[in-house]
Each structure stands twice: as C-alpha cells, then as structure tokens.
C-alpha cells in the first residue's frame, strides 16, 4: 500500500508538469490544444534520442523541453497564420508528431533501462519534487511579470491586448510553446521513470491533464489565493492516488480512461450548469435594477 502511494505521488508529480503546461493553453489562453497527445511521446522520444547519443540525462531532458516548444510553434502557426481552427490545428500537429515520433529513433518502442536517467541523481521522489517546485516557482514568477500578465490578458480579451499596442498572436504563440515544452518535459520524465518510450504513451493524455486541473480547481474552490500551478500539481497527484487505489482495489486499468473522461464531463457539466444558474440570477437582478432606475428617472 505504501509503495503504491509513493508510486502514485511520483507519477502524479510527472503529470503535474503536464497539467501545468495544459493550464497555460486551456485555462490561461482558453484553447483546447490537442497537440499535447503527440507532444508527450515527442518529449519521450527526444529524450531517448539524446540519451542514446551519449548525452547527459539532465541535458537530454532539457533538450526535450526546448524542442518540444516547437510543437506549440507549429500549432500556433497553423492557427494564427493559416487560420485553421485551434482544435483542428492541434489535431494536425498531433498527427504530424505521430510520424515524427516514429522517425526519431526509427522504432515505436525504445527501452531505456540501460541508460542513465535523472532519477539516478537521488531518490526519485525528491528529484521530482525539486523539478516540480522549480517549474512552479518560475511559472508563478513569470505570470507576475509584464509579459506574463499580457499572456493572461490574451486569453481573456485579445482586443484589450491589441489596444495596449501588442500583437496578441505573439502571446498565443509564446503560451503554446511554453505549454508544449512543459508537456514534452513531462513525457521525457515519464519515459525515464517507466524505463521506455512508447508511441502510445500520449493517448488520451489531454483527458488526464484536464481531469487533474478540474480536480485541483474543485477541491480548492473557495481559496482564491491559490495559484493555478498549485491547483494543477495537487490535482494531478490526487488524480493519480485515486486512480492507483482504484486499480489496487480491482479496477481494470483499461477502464481508468473512461472514468477520467467521465470525471471531466461531470465536472464541466456541474460548472456550466452552475454558471447558467448564476447568470440567470444576475440577469434578473440587473433587470430589476434597470426597472428601478427607470422609475427613479421618471420620477
């Protein structure tokens, strides 16, 4: 049981990086970027390539991040320059990455057991906590900078960004690149943890990321001070622990995907119907106010 929890936390921390990436595209930029399904294994295969070329595992992992950002650049070019809808742009990038991933090492599955990994630097849990904390702190600091706020404003109201004299597409590109870089980094770490890179490892990963984000948001609904990054991290860990326990109790791992999707559907349904309810109530109040002020005017 204990080792199950530790494994779940370790995997949760890896998925926390994925979730922080998806926070940028989905929550901040308000875009459902499906390319991450390709970017996650992309990171894994890039790591496999560099480590097998004899590079050090830290450098190989960082390279996966850097080259992973290019996936975001591609989606963004499809979207902002060729004006393909974001959803399709993401799917096209994912499709291209599928072939690219197979080409990188010429195989669909690369064992990595014989190579060095970042987890040889120390206890895996400690290494992961440090990596996740570094990313969280950098991301939080970035989102408080002038540029970071412009990224948030881009997801909120592009016309405001243009009225400030900035090209909002540039900030979308930046956000998507950062998001995909983090997803690739997460994939590279997953490959090292499980000891192989595999072409299928990205399948439905977007649902895992969304489920993590949604869980994180829901459990801390009433504490507005908590950053999105913290929520994503805790959400991913809780998601993995619950999933781990469920499987331990006899749930077929194959069913976990459907359950994750149902979690996402249920929470989005709940949030939307709450929003509708609030909107309705607000409109009634506004209507009443308008009537009141009208009568004041007439008076």
């Amino acid at each position: 049981m204990n080792s199950l929890i530790i494994t779940s936390i370790e995997q949760g921390l890896i998925f926390a990086i994925l979730a922080m990436g998806v926070v940028i595209s989905y929550k901040i930029l308000n875009m459902a970027d499906l390319s991450v399904e390709g970017t996650f294994p992309f990171g894994a295969f890039l790591f496999a390539k560099f480590i097998s070329m004899g590079m050090n595992p830290i450098v190989s992992t960082l390279m996966a991040f850097c080259i992973g950002t290019l996936a975001g650049l591609l989606t963004s070019v499809l979207f902002t320059k060729i004006r393909i809808k974001p959803l399709l742009a993401g799917i096209l990038t994912m499709t291209i990455l599928y072939s690219v991933n197979l080409k990188i090492n010429g195989k669909s599955n690369i064992p990595l057991f014989s190579y060095d990994s970042v987890f040889n630097l120390g206890n895996a849990l400690v290494v992961l906590v440090i990596i996740v904390l570094i990313i969280k702190i950098i991301l939080d600091l970035f989102l408080k900078t002038e540029t970071g706020y412009l990224l948030i404003a881009t997801g909120d109201n592009e016309s405001l960004v243009r009225s400030l004299g900035k090209n909002s597409n540039m900030y979308k590109t930046m956000g998507l690149m950062l998001a995909n870089g983090l997803v690739a980094l997460s994939g590279a770490l997953m490959a090292q943890m499980q000891g192989f890179a595999d072409i299928t490892m990205g399948s439905s990963i977007i649902v895992v990321a969304l489920a993590s984000i949604i869980i994180g948001d829901t459990i801390m609904k009433n504490s507005h001070k908590i950053e999105n990054t913290t929520r994503a991290i805790l959400g991913a860990i809780i998601y993995k622990i619950i999933g781990g326990i469920a499987i331990d109790l006899g749930l077929d791992p194959q069913d976990l995907k459907a359950i994750s999707a149902i979690i996402v559907i249920a929470f989005i349904f709940y949030n939307n119907s709450m929003a509708d309810l609030l909107e309705l109530r607000k409109r009634k109040v506004e209507l009443r106010n308008a009537k009141n002020s009208q009568s004041v005017q007439e008076f």
Binding site: F142, K144, T145, E146, T147, G148, Y149, L150, I152, A153, D156, N157, S159, L160, V161, R162, S163, L164, G165, K166, N167, S168, E286, N289, A290, S293, Q294, V296, Q297
Partner: protein, 254 residues
C-alpha cells in the same frame, strides 16, 4: 486633428451580399473637440470607428491622424495613439484580472513589456489617485477581479484605462448603450470629465439625442454612409434634432 480622405469600404465584395458602406467619404475632425455621430442602425457608424481604429482596413482612402498617415498601420500599431471604449463593458478590460492589474496593464500601453514585475510599489499611489478620480470607490477594491464589478463600474474602468495615457484620439462606440439609464448618465458625465481633463479629441457614437447635444461640440448625422447633417451642437435643441432624425428616418421606413 483627424482627416478622413476619400474613404471607401465594402463588405463581401464580389458576392451577392456586397454592401457598400462608404463611398469616397471625406471628413475632418477638429482637435480637442467632441464630435457625436448619430444615425440609424446599419448606416456605418461602427464601421467608421473600426476603420479609424484599424480593426478593419479600408478598400481605398487615407486616415490621417495629427498629420500622420496611419492607414497602413496595424490595429496594435495605431492603438498607441487611440483609446477605444465599446458598447460591451467586457471589451475594454481583462475580466479575470483585478482592478489593480488592469490599471497597471493600461499604464504600460505602447511601452515595451519586459520580464520585470508588472505591479510596482512605486506606482501604487498614482494608480490609486487615478481610480479616485472616477469617484466610484474602486481604489478600495484594488484586488477585486473585474468580472465581479457591475457593468457601470466596469465601463468606468474601461474608460479610465483608455484615457489614462492621454491618447490623441478617443473612440466611443455607444459606450453607455448597454447600461441602465441612470448609470448611463453617470458614465457620460465621467466621460466628459476625463476627455476634458486630458483634452482628448473624441468621436462618440450615440443613439441618445440628449447626450449627443449635451456632451458634444459637433453633431454629424450619417445615412447610408453619407454625411447628411453636420452642425455645431449648440445650434440645435434636443427637440429639433429629434425632429430632423424622425422626419428623415421614419419617413424613409414608411
């Protein structure tokens, strides 16, 4: 001063839905004055403001702002000289950010955005002073997200954000139309205060004849993309203007 020279604009060119909104429009807008544009729905008021603001580009003609031809400048390039407030109060603010964060963003308009912190202690007093100037108590709600404000508060904030860097030109597109009548009056007063305080050349679209007369120096009436009336506001009463408007547009409907 703003000069509009031989401006033409059509939508859906070459299709059966082609709409010619402007055909060789010429117009001069004096500096430091408020010009009201009135006219029925679809006569081209918003299109004119969008052409000036750069969110759409003309088929032909020039837009010259203070002697500089801005026709070829992208929306974000000419935004440095222009402040805009739309009908929808959400258009001028970032709703998920706080009042303080919105003001701080607006304060960087036209400048370089770096990797330094946006909110700096040394600017706080100035932000608070700016918010105090619109007299809604927003300075006491610095950390409230803008989406939780009322429509009127949001629009006042949008107005302040558009005006605080003293743009050469302010474009107001029915910016009080979505508000209840009382709030609408308050926002009009604040608008006047702000544009006078910073002496900003203003073009204001309005459906309210009383506002048009009361708050502008000059009234231009558009009909199908043509100027059909152009008079100093002081030379008209509200009733006269309403009469002209009704005769022109209600007869044409009949």
């Amino acid at each position: 001063m703003l000069k509009i020279v031989n401006l033409s604009k059509s939508f859906n060119t070459g299709t059966e839905n082609e709409i010619k909104v402007f055909d060789n429009l010429n117009l001069q807008i004096e500096a430091n004055k408020c010009t009201a544009i009135i006219g029925p729905n679809g006569c081209g008021k918003s299109t004119l403001l969008n052409l000036i603001g750069g969110s759409i580009s003309p088929d032909q003609g020039q837009i010259i702002l203070n002697g500089k031809d801005v026709t070829k400048l992208k929306e974000e390039e000419r935004a440095i000289y222009i402040g805009k407030v739309h009908q929808n109060p959400y258009m001028g603010v970032s709703p998920s950010l706080t009042i303080l964060e919105n003001i701080a963003l607006a304060d960087k308009k036209g400048e370089k955005f770096t990797l330094r912190r946006l909110i700096k202690r040394k600017n706080m007093d100035r932000y608070i002073e700016l918010l105090e100037s619109i007299d809604l108590g927003l300075e006491n709600k610095l950390n409230t997200k803008v989406k939780f404000l009322s429509g009127g508060q949001r629009q006042s904030l949008a107005l302040l954000m558009a005006a605080m860097k003293h743009p050469d030109l302010m474009l107001l597109d029915e910016h009080t139309a979505a508000l209840d009548p009382r709030t609408s009056r308050i926002i009009m007063k604040k608008t006047k205060e702000l544009i006078e305080k910073y002496s900003i050349t203003t073009i204001m679209i309005s459906h309210n004849m009383r506002d048009a007369i009361e708050y502008s120096d000059r009234i231009i009436m558009l009909d199908k993309g043509k100027v059909v009336l152009d008079k100093p506001s002081k030379s008209l009463t509200e009733d006269q203007l309403l009469d002209i408007y009704r005769r022109r547009f209600e007869e044409s409907i009949a």
